[in-house]
């Protein structure tokens, strides 16, 4: 019995292959977008965990000498005086594909050497004796293998991400820095001897623990939210198709039940069918998701490095959590989409009317209920803002988006009815009223389009506002024409003397890493100069902030102000015995850490020994190339020690663009899924559409005219949806800029409007509508009259 019933149920898909394909493809696309995001998140988190586990040096106290590198002799002396330290030498190794970070360690004393325990075929003598070995993750190792004259590279999965590891002796040779040590890590408890006696001029710092996972949480939350939205958009596709399939098969259900198939058996059969569909679509979706994540991961990796300094491997690994999660989501999606049908199967009387028309009219009755539910959802979401926090921000966004989506069909019906009433010609009157009549079948696809368009406008406005603000901010913040880093304090003094007659001003850049109201942060000292007064981007300030600064007050970045809840006039505690009043708040995009600025004399009063090796130079823009060449020639400075401001800006903007490349890609894909939703709706509604078109054709509109009108109708609905999406997208942009960004990154951005982007998106919406209608329209122009005539007659 069960077998026969299953055969009857499954035969539907044989006769409706397009429905089957759209259902599987819709679910697969939704799963793919979700899985891609989860795969990226999983890869990034694995890299953070690996970095935290393997390079615990961040938690170890570090000895450095601000005035320059520590020598090998000094290191030996320090060891002999009882200091348990291990030397590290770090630098960037030039390769044909750009520079890679290399870390040299003393493999005999470095505690993290345990990572090599897993490496097969690694003999200690190979690592310690020339030519030595380089250790890197497989992807990086592959890049290095192509470079001639490098020692053998060992590929090791457990190696730190984005870093080449080697014995310090080898790194000395590769970087041409023989006998130099950048820093010493304390690998045991402090000895009794004084550091200044053992190594004069050295400082011992307990570096903050960069909890990368915490810092990047907001970034991943953003991605997850986007993935969830894409999945929701995909669900609309599945829900629409499965709803139609259910109604089309209601006749079969009725017959099966009338023939004696028990309702529980029928329910179980449909459930089993949903599970099989979910498995097929889930596997396809995971495969697509893997491809998508592989394509996006390099950009995410670059973003995380640019934003947080977090190293993430750019190669994707197939990890069970996201694979199983993807399958789970596919199953959840299929069951969610099929739940309504299953409930109806149990509730609706055996002999209730059947067919898509009834489905459409039943859906139409739900419009007002949906609109009411949508309004409640939006209000609840916005009310959640009262609780504060990132989750509340996302709750508000979800409530607003889903609420608006639920209210869309009722709103469109209202608009279309009004337009139809005012239409003059018979064709336009018919087209508008027919658009309204088509809403029940297309509403889910249009809701998906609304979500995709609103997200595009919202995220696009946020990114463009951010870009505009960021570019302006960079112009202000990087006011000096050239930035310079000397090898030592002595060289810096020499350079400054040389520069004084050749530039308008030499602005020293000196800083100390300390505590700001109990939080680790950096304090810069600046001299009193017009460059700062004229350019520094203050978002809040007292009456004379620059004068106050030279009198001992402090400027803090927006992140610190928002984190600790301080504003202009409040006191900030720095190192013991140092407290300063806030004279102004400045925007500091791209920096997740607390930061502050004080007058140079104030900084030197509290920290007299801080390095003085960096400076900004003010001069005529036209003189920059000559000065840079002269500087390098006179002082034998490495290429990266003198930087043209334009290079820094270009690099910063590049990081910025890459950061939002992933968001942009997801945006486009979500819009694509929405376009696909319209296409699937039009295709699945095709058979129900003929009875509406055939009479008009019979009355004298050609198939070509009708096809053109079909495209116009689809474009019209897409355009109306885009009009509704505009205010919704702007509301979303405001929530992202004023709520989510503040909670996630610690800064609030001004909102700018970009009407040209709206026009572009409107054109995209029209294109999506037109493309979606193209296949049905083409099919209509080629339709045999006999097919249309079937609508009128059963008698041959």
């Amino acid at each position: 019995m069960t077998r026969t019933a299953a055969h009857a149920l499954l035969s539907h898909w044989v006769h409706r292959p397009v429905q089957f394909i759209t259902l599987v493809l819709g679910l697969a696309l939704a799963t793919a977008l979700w899985s891609a995001v989860q795969a990226i998140n999983a890869e990034a988190r694995a890299s953070y965990a690996s970095a935290a586990n393997l390079l615990e040096n961040a938690a170890r106290p570090v000895i450095q000498r601000p005035s320059g590198p520590i020598t090998l002799e000094e290191y030996v002396t320090l060891r002999r005086s009882g200091w348990p330290v291990t030397p590290l030498l770090e630098g960037r190794l030039p390769t044909p594909n750009g520079r890679v970070q290399i870390l040299g360690v003393d493999l005999l004393s470095w505690p993290d050497v345990v990572i090599l325990g897993d490496a097969p075929d690694v003999a200690p003598e190979d690592l310690l004796t020339p030519p030595g070995r380089l250790i890197a993750r497989p992807a990086l190792a592959k890049r290095l293998e192509a470079i001639p004259d490098l020692p053998t590279v060992i590929a090791l999965d457990t190696a730190p991400a984005g870093l080449v590891l080697a014995d310090i002796g080898l790194v000395e040779r590769l970087l041409n820095r023989t006998g130099q040590i950048d820093r010493l890590e304390l690998i045991d408890s402090l000895p009794q001897t004084d550091l200044q006696t053992a190594l004069p001029g050295a400082t011992l710092t307990y570096p903050e623990t960069p909890d990368t996972a915490r810092l990047t949480d907001s970034f991943h939350l953003n991605l997850t939210a986007f993935g969830l939205l894409a999945f929701a958009v995909g669900l609309f596709v599945i829900h629409g198709v499965s709803g139609l399939a259910f109604e089309e098969r209601r006749g079969t259900f009725r017959t099966l039940r009338a023939l004696g198939l028990p309702l529980p058996v029928l329910t179980h059969l449909i459930l089993a069918e949903l599970v099989v569909l979910a498995l097929i679509a889930g596997l396809l979706g995971i495969a697509l998701g893997y491809v998508l994540a592989t394509a996006l991961l390099p950009d995410v990796s670059a973003s995380l490095r640019g934003l947080y300094g977090a190293q993430v491997d750019a190669t994707l690994t197939l990890r069970w959590p996201w694979v199983l999660g993807g399958m789970g989501m596919a199953l959840l999606g299929a069951l969610t989409a099929g739940a309504q049908g299953l409930l109806r199967l149990r509730r609706v009387p055996l002999l209730a009317a059947t067919g898509p028309d009834r489905w459409a009219s039943a859906a139409a009755r739900q419009f007002s209920i949906m609109a009411l539910g949508g309004a409640l959802l939006a209000i609840s979401g916005l009310a959640a803002l009262g609780f504060g926090g990132l989750i509340a921000g996302f709750a508000a966004i979800s409530g607003l988006l889903l609420g608006a989506a639920l209210a869309l069909p009722a709103l469109l019906r209202l608009i279309l009815t009004r337009i139809a009433r005012r239409a003059r010609g018979p064709v336009s009157q018919w087209v508008w009223s027919d658009m309204s009549a088509q809403l029940p079948g297309l509403s889910l696809a249009l809701m998906a389009l609304l979500l995709a368009l609103a997200t595009n406008i919202g995220v696009g406005t946020m990114v463009s506002s951010f870009r505009l603000t960021f570019t302006g901010w960079l112009d202000q913040r990087l006011a000096a024409e050239v930035y310079l880093r000397a090898r030592s304090d002595e060289q810096a003094e020499e350079i400054a003397a040389w520069l004084t007659p050749r530039t308008d001003a030499v602005l020293p850049i000196r800083f100390v890493d300390t505590q700001l109201n109990g939080r680790p942060g950096r304090v810069y000292g600046i001299i009193d100069h017009a460059t700062y007064h004229d350019n520094w981007p203050l978002i809040a300030a007292g009456e004379t902030p620059w004068q106050a600064l030279q009198n001992g007050a402090i400027l803090v970045n927006e992140q610190l102000a928002r984190q600790v809840g301080l504003w202009v006039g409040d006191p900030v505690a720095l190192s013991p015995g140092w407290q300063a009043e806030i004279a102004g708040i400045y925007s500091d995009y791209g920096n997740p850490h607390p930061q502050a600025i004080v007058g140079m004399s104030t900084l030197l009063h509290h920290h007299p020994n801080i390095p003085n090796r960096q400076m900004g130079l003010r001069l005529d823009r036209a003189d920059v190339p000559t000065l840079v060449t002269d500087l390098r020639a006179t002082f034998d400075l490495p290429v990266d020690a003198v930087t043209d401001q334009r290079q820094i800006k270009a690099a910063s903007l590049q990081v910025f663009e890459r950061t939002f490349l992933v968001t942009g890609a997801l945006n486009v894909l979500t819009l694509g899924v929405a376009g696909f939703a319209i296409l699937t709706s039009l295709l699945t509604l095709w058979s129900a559409r003929l009875p509406q078109l055939a009479p008009v054709w019979a009355m004298g509109l050609s198939r070509r005219d009708l096809a053109r009108l079909e495209v116009l109708r689809s474009c019209g609905l897409a355009a109306l949806t885009a009009l509704v999406a505009l205010p919704l997208g702007l509301a979303l942009a405001w929530l992202l800029l004023a709520v989510v960004n503040v909670e996630a990154f610690g800064w609030r951005l001004p909102m700018f409007l970009f009407p040209l982007d709206w026009l572009r998106l409107m054109a995209l919406a029209l294109l999506a509508g037109a493309l979606a209608a193209l296949i049905p329209a083409r099919r209509l122009t080629r339709l045999a009259p006999a097919t249309l005539l079937k609508v009128f007659s059963h008698d041959r």
């Binding site: 018979p426 064709v427 055939a694 009479p695 019979a698 509109l701 009128f792 041959r796």
Partner: protein
């Protein structure tokens, strides 16, 4: 003259028309003529090809062979758009299933084809509407009407455009006897008033008997 056929009253002419369906011949070498204002009934068994013949007359489908002309216009010379123009301006269609446009109300349905053809005559439409007894339901949705009312709207829609030829396929097939008589009476009256020729396909001998001429299609031949 509303049509020109070399001075004669002949409106529609079929010459040696044949049509097959799924490789099965429906009818062969059918020739017939219809004069302006004439009312003709076509009867025949189910599946004999009555509706198909009506579709060919309405330029809705192509014959396998033979020639069809309406007022001198040869169907074979028309492309898809030309046929659409012909249907819009010269032919009215009434079907068994009514085939109204559900998204438009009764008034919009009634005037639809006349406006489409660009010759809406408000006095004539008002007259047709009144004769069909639809004045009270003009603003209603067609879905709220009874079967008889829906068929009257379909007849009104076809005749409001004052076509040369009205093709009706089992127009009373879905109606009970009382409604059927009433609808047929109205249709015949209005056809006479407008001078429109009527070609009606029916199963009913009673309905066929009320038209001026009666044809029978059987075994692929019209007699």
């Amino acid at each position: 003259m509303r049509f020109d056929c070399n001075g004669s009253d002949m409106l529609l002419e079929l010459q040696s028309v044949s049509k097959s369906f799924d490789a099965r011949p429906l009818f062969t070498d059918v020739s017939l003529q219809l004069d302006g204002g004439e009312t003709v009934a076509l009867t025949g068994e189910s599946g004999s090809g009555k509706s198909t013949l009506l579709h060919l007359m309405g330029a809705l489908d192509d014959p396998d062979s033979g020639d069809i002309r309406l007022g001198g216009t040869q169907y074979a010379t028309l492309n898809d758009r030309g046929r659409a123009d012909l249907r819009r301006t010269r032919i009215g269609l009434v079907f068994q299933q009514f085939n109204l446009i559900g998204s438009l109300n009764v008034a919009a349905n009634l005037t639809f084809q006349a406006r489409l053809a660009g010759r809406e005559d408000q006095d004539w439409t008002g007259h047709v509407t009144a004769r069909l007894g639809l004045n009270d339901v003009l603003t209603q949705s067609t879905e709220t009407l009874s079967g008889g009312q829906q068929q009257r709207v379909a007849i009104g829609r076809a005749l409001a455009a004052r076509p040369d030829l009205l093709l009706a396929d089992e127009p009373t097939g879905n109606l009970d006897e009382a409604n059927s008589d009433r609808v047929l009476d109205l249709m015949l009256d209005l056809v006479q008033e407008s001078g429109t020729a009527l070609f009606l396909v029916t199963h009913s001998e009673g309905v066929a008997a009320r038209l001026s001429r009666r044809l029978h299609l059987s075994q692929g031949r019209v007699s």
